[in-house]
């Protein structure tokens, strides 16, 4: 009876250790993949912003708000907040509004934020055709960043999952 109980306790303990390791690995992998998702959302937001400005001729702050809400996620919130802080009524440039919005929202992708900062420095000073050209340049840059991240994130995420699971398993073996 006691021997069976010891064996059962060992089995449950090992399962818990392996599960803990696996969960830690999966959480790390999810964090890595979140950056890729943010960049994808940013690309969608820029496409939406370009359409709003070139076809609907929406004013820039309103276009930023709409693109942000269409994209979703932290980067979408950042764009929407930038849109609500910018504009003539607030007497702020897009660049200044972005700085203020970054103090409130911090997206997980520093690369997307860097592209957005460069874009914001050029928005609001020229006609809509020029603005669309700047946005298209940013879309191209975001696309190349996304392609670069895709392979890297997939590799890293798989590595973290394996590391978590196997570290848990090896710890369980040592503790048994």
């Amino acid at each position: 009876m006691t021997h069976t109980m010891v064996l059962a306790a060992k089995a449950v303990g090992s399962a818990l250790v392996i599960a803990a390791g696996g969960l830690a690995g999966f959480a790390a992998a999810r964090r890595v993949e979140a950056e890729l998702r943010e960049v994808e959302r940013f690309e969608n937001a820029l496409l939406c912003l370009s359409s709003e400005i070139s076809y609907a001729l929406t004013p820039l702050p309103e276009a930023l708000k709409r693109a942000g809400s269409a994209a979703g996620g932290e980067i979408g919130t950042l764009l929407a907040r930038t849109g609500s802080l910018a504009g003539l009524s607030n007497r702020r440039s897009v660049s200044r509004a972005l700085d203020l919005a970054l103090a409130e929202v911090r997206p997980q992708s520093p690369k997307a934020v860097a592209i957005l900062k460069e874009l914001a420095a050029n928005l609001g000073f020229s006609g809509h055709k020029e603005e669309v050209r700047y946005i298209e340049m940013s879309i191209d840059r975001t696309r190349s960043v996304r392609k670069e991240l895709e392979g890297e994130c997939r590799r890293k995420a798989r590595l973290y999952r394996y590391l978590g699971l196997f570290s848990g398993a090896s710890l369980a073996i040592v503790l048994l």
Binding site: K156, F166, S170, V174
Partner: protein, 66 residues
């Protein structure tokens, strides 16, 4: 602990360490892969230290070494 248990334990660790080594190597981080292998070796050495010590004691007593 039974010696057979220890052998199975070392075998399990070896399998896990070899899988981890190949996974990390595939991810392009060869230096970390070697670090994991080295950690595995150190863990296994820690497990067998007492047995090695016992073995040397037996050798000494068998051949009447000082």
């Amino acid at each position: 602990m039974l010696s057979a248990d220890l052998i199975f334990k070392i075998a399990g660790l070896a399998i896990i360490v070899s899988v981890l080594h190949s996974v990390i190597k595939q991810a392009g981080k060869e230096e970390y892969a070697w670090l994991v292998t080295l950690t595995g070796i150190i863990v296994v050495l820690t497990l067998v230290t007492r047995l090695v010590s016992d073995f040397f004691q037996s050798v000494k007593s068998t051949f009447l070494l000082p």
